[in-house]
Symmetry: C2
């Protein structure tokens, strides 16, 4: 079972920088955060199921949360939420039930916002509605990005794009350490684990070497050509 | 060249029922529609390109509009907008430039909303901001649907899902007439035209017969098993 705790000062600071609250002034942030508590989940814990009546939306403080659909034995990941990412906030503006399943992928700590309490704030604090709408705009754009890349890019191209947008350059060389297991990267990119392995094998010829979570890129200009 | 015309009574009625305006009262609708004109496009006309400075958002009155990304010779359709669908309205709340390309797919008539004028309305008419946010929520959900189906379903399953959600039943038999060319259905489902043809061939064994745009389904329960 999850236990709800008061948000700590450090957790409030993380939330203040998250997209859902960063455009708000101090008083508005305080009002929004007064609707939230901190909850902790074990790996694989299910936060909610599709179609369940929605009481809360969430913002990730640490760990990762997977949003996914399942139907007739088939499963599809929609998003992997990282610290600072919020999800479910569209239910403040419209809708009754969750539109996907959410599951913690590691030990995760989340800020849990009471939807009814946030709704009650909107009249007096309309800029909170604006902040939620901006957050929705960002989710829409990143979901469109994901859809377009799925439709446009091969598996090695999707992996190359992830590496290029997450690596640290040292001249033309670059490197990164995956913040999570390869299985989570596969979910994020919409690939089966074996498709991700094949993509990494293909990228070896483009100078990408992998050792556990550490990835080295010989020449970013070569990787851009994939 | 497009010519901007005053909205007709019939066009205002279509807009009043579109998601972007349907939750507004009469005065709010009038205020929102005062920011719009009707514009007409020929097939293949480009409305705007990705990264162009955004001056307008749109709502389809008739015809179809394709939203797509292109990069390095690869193209991916993100959405096919039908009459009543709006697009680009997130730019009222955040952002400067368009996030995709838009192209008319038939003779199309659109309501074109001036973003600066709509922005100027928001303080006095905050419920217009709410209506835009609800529209964004709906776009987010349908883009998530599309992403999940792409990742979860085979090509015949995607086509079967489209048929089942758009057909008219007569007992277990059902039929529909595609509102657009098969090439547009392929784009909508994220399939190459030849993949759509193969999917229809596969579905023949499940009782789906195609003659031009007319599609007959022998038994919807069989089609549900695909």
């Amino acid at each position: 079972m999850t236990r709800a705790l008061k948000l700590s000062g450090a957790q409030r600071a993380v939330l203040g920088g998250a997209l859902i609250a960063s455009s708000l002034d101090r008083q508005e942030q305080d009002a929004l955060l007064s609707c939230a508590v901190a909850v902790r989940y074990e790996p694989q814990d299910v936060l909610f199921r599709e179609r369940e009546k929605a009481r809360y939306f969430y913002c990730v403080l640490s760990g990762y949360v997977r949003l996914f659909r399942d139907a007739e034995g088939r499963v599809a990941d929609i998003s992997i939420c990282e610290p600072g990412d919020s999800f479910g906030e569209c239910l403040v503006l419209a809708g009754e039930g969750y539109n996907y399943n959410a599951q913690a992928m590691e030990h995760a700590i989340l800020a849990r916002f009471d939807i009814a309490q946030v709704k009650a704030l909107l009249d007096a604090r309309p800029r909170i509605g604006g902040a939620i709408a901006r957050s929705l705009s960002q989710h829409l754009l990143s979901t469109m990005d994901c859809l377009a890349r799925d439709r446009m890019q091969t598996s090695p191209q999707r992996v190359a794009h992830y590496l290029l947008t997450h690596c640290t350059n040292e001249g033309t060389r670059a490197s990164l350490r995956l913040p999570f297991q390869k299985s989570l990267l596969a979910r994020k990119l919409g690939l089966a684990p074996e498709a991700l392995s094949r993509a990494f094998s293909t990228l070896r010829t483009s100078g990408v070497s992998v050792s556990g979570r550490a990835i080295a890129i010989e020449d970013i200009n070569v990787l851009r050509q994939v």
